[in-house]
Symmetry: C2
């Protein structure tokens, strides 16, 4: 966007990006890179700038593609929910009532029934589901929507990570029984895997403890990434509702034998936090680094003319741009009247995964010089192999970003076998602690206090490999603990 | 959507569609065709079903394409606007204050400043524009967003046409001066033309009378279509703001000579009413009829097997479907266990522009039978020319829909030259009245009362061709009058 003011802002702030100081680095980088403008006059509600919005929309498209593949249908439900519908599921109200925004007036007229802005759409959708689901042949019902949701956050807000208006994906399904719903959760986990690959985000998949599950759920699976600060960031959640909501909203079907049964339900949620994770995981002291699969600009072409050669070089650069654009790549050319260094600075800040430089010498040698944003590795590409080489380089960036993040995650998971001996060493550590746990709440509390971290959840595929790290008794579960955003 | 329930609903209601009874016909058809579900428990807020939402998203993409061509950038502003920002432009407040929804509480806590749900985004955007626009080099600023807006309607609501939650497109621009802003309005009118072509919607372009312009505008251009009921439906509006809002929000730039000047602004708005117009204009007693350019399903393939030939025929039909899908068409095949007639009924209801029937005889003759939704004309297509012929047929449907609507519009514009003599004849007529008018408000009032229609606006390209139809004095303007939705 011509007028995003990000470049100008960068100069004004004379900012020294320093990722070791993660919170400040993060706060600055989202604005400097032109993703959002935080100066909107309501706390926790930012303006999506063109670059950030295009990134978000690219991510939405990745999700839509996965939804289509798995026969989910896209719908759009109203934003406002009548108080009377909201109050039907007891746990759900308890979980959300402190953080909903209430609409009380239309013009100067008080409304008959207060309306709330959806914090999530269970209570908007399920009254309709009870009309839509009649027979076993209506099942499974698989729908999703991509909308903004609203939560009156009282904690400190942070772009993408903790907002009051949240760009949100939510899938809702209805099934015949618990087992069918369980299969849906397996499908959701596969979708998660595909989305995470596109965003280069390795993650932990953990069943949340009882006291931390979604309000109204039977159980919740959290998907967590690890930020450079050592704190985890939940980027998705998948919930098994059993028939909890179906009972409250009377979502029933007639089975083959004519009996009426409650549907079993699941939901799957993701949000703009995906961008928060991408910014946090991959960025560096020169800016953000975007995965090629979702980058609004995958390749930036920068002509570097010697005196008197401007036209020739720009013409060649334009040809390169056109060839890549013709092959469906998201490519732009920078023809601004600026020194090449200034251009490099801007595009590095914005995280464009690949830069192609074209100078007079490159033209003579029939090459272009490619620079990868993640490693700054330079490579001469024969112009004849342009398309193939650029594709390869983008694939390289994509897989290197994933590997680097994966290594970081692995290196920051620490197993503690004996709390008493090891608490001191691991208490201040940045990362995730893995322990065997007996299941006793006293031991849980001691773990949390001694390690200064909270229960994140239980990995469904890991079995205890030793005694409880606190009491030495028989372990029932493996537990991961962390500080989280 | 498997579970939209539209088909079932149609059977239950045993409805006899009758377009001569337009309001009832319209009300039923939007639900029967599976566009929206009106049973959501808030009046004026419907659920977008998959079919309707896909249609809306296809229309959004048509608009986005035009926006990209004209260098507008997509953004997304917060939904909520602080009361303090909303109150800065006096006329604007007056125009909207009766119809905004107010958020007064977060959880049980009263908010410091009440927030309103955007009814349109001037007052959300312009505080930011005053930060973004600094220098003449920041201009023009051209942005747009596609979001939902909210208006507390007290009149009767109607799907797509008068809603309380409205799917909305809004472009906002800033320019150096009035002349540059005027050029933008010309560009907007060209965009309107492209969008209307895609939707097969001929329209009137009329400068609104002073008393009917947008709240805060210098002048407004309304884009009106004519519904079969003879009432006009505004589907878009384009506004010249001059520096009215710039003064209220201090949107200023420094020109080349170092002087500070107010920016001049325009806006361009469209909404889900586009769907209302498409449904109303093109539908018939068998259902809606969708323009191929935006139809979620452009072609439906229906195999019609004789006994024992099911597999062969379905296989052939699948090949046809794959060939069309491979060429990028939106095509589906109906393999349901239903009589062909029942399938035809469903797809006609949903307005799929082209049906391809494939029977055993067609296979022998190496043809498929194509049926156009708008005329029900049948044509045998040689299978060898499948792709070319289907494209031609879709183009035919597209241009026939446009022509039919254009003829209807032309046939329903009536010129009245002498009110006294002709008022009685034209008073009850369904359509648009065109008159020469002297500019006197007394004559205006007499026109409106005698014809039982309201001033719609002034066609910018027409000059008076006779004396005032009321007083016989010198005419200053051509005026169009109508009843409108």
């Amino acid at each position: 966007m011509k007028n995003s003011g990000a470049d100008e802002l960068a100069k004004k702030m004379k900012v020294k990006l320093d990722k070791d100081n993660f919170p400040e680095w993060y706060s600055e980088i989202v604005e400097l890179s032109g993703l959002v403008d935080k100066r909107y006059p309501i706390k926790g509600m930012n303006v999506w700038l063109p670059y950030g919005w295009e990134l978000m929309r690219n991510i939405d498209e990745v999700i839509r593609r996965e939804m289509r593949k798995t026969s989910h249908k896209e719908v759009c439900f109203p934003l406002l929910i009548p108080q009377s519908e909201f109050q039907k599921e007891a746990d759900h109200i308890k979980g959300f009532s402190d953080e909903v925004y209430w609409v009380t007036h239309g013009g100067s007229t008080p409304l008959d029934i207060p309306l709330l802005l959806r914090p999530t759409s269970e209570t908007a959708m399920y009254p309709m589901f009870s009309l839509w689901v009649r027979s076993h042949s209506d099942l499974p019902l698989k729908i999703f929507q991509i909308v903004n949701v609203f939560r009156y956050e009282t904690k400190q807000t942070r772009p993408f990570i903790r907002m009051r208006e949240i760009h949100f994906f939510e899938a809702h399904t209805c099934h015949r029984d618990f087992e069918e719903a369980e299969k849906q959760i397996q499908e959701d986990l596969e979708i998660m895997d595909s989305v995470a690959k596109e965003l280069c985000l390795p993650y932990l998949k953990l069943v949340r403890p009882e006291w931390d599950k979604f309000a109204g759920a039977f159980y919740s699976v959290g998907i967590d990434t690890l930020m450079p600060s050592g704190r985890t960031l939940q980027i998705a959640s998948i919930h098994q509702y059993k028939d909890n909501f179906a009972r409250a909203y009377r979502i029933m079907y007639e089975d083959e034998s004519g009996e009426h049964r409650y549907a079993h339900q699941t939901t799957y949620g993701m949000s703009e936090r995906l961008i928060g994770a991408v910014v946090g995981m991959h960025g560096d002291n020169r800016g953000i680094v975007l995965p090629p699969a979702v980058a609004p600009i995958q390749v930036i072409v920068v002509p570097i003319p010697k005196k008197g050669m401007k036209e020739v070089v720009e013409e060649e650069a334009l040809k390169v741009k056109e060839e890549l654009a013709g092959a469906g790549m998201r490519v732009e050319i920078d023809l601004r009247d600026l020194r090449p260094g200034a251009k490099f600075y801007d595009w590095e800040l914005k995280g464009v995964p690949l830069r192609l430089e074209i100078g007079t010498r490159d033209i003579e040698e029939e090459v272009v010089t490619a620079v990868k944003r993640n490693t700054f590795e330079k490579r001469k590409i024969p112009i004849k192999e342009l398309l193939k080489s650029v594709k390869e380089l983008l694939d390289e960036v994509q897989s290197e970003l994933y590997s680097a993040a994966e290594n970081f995650l692995k290196e920051h998971i620490f197993t503690v076998r004996n709390l008493k001996d090891e608490a001191e060493a691991y208490r201040g550590i940045e990362g995730v602690i893995r322990v065997n746990w007996c299941g006793d709440m006293k031991c849980a509390e001691e773990l949390e206090v001694s390690l200064d971290k909270s229960f994140l959840g239980f990995p469904p595929e890991e079995k205890p490999d030793g005694p409880c790290a606190v009491c030495g008794g028989k372990a029932a579960e493996v537990v991961y603990l962390s500080k989280s955003y």
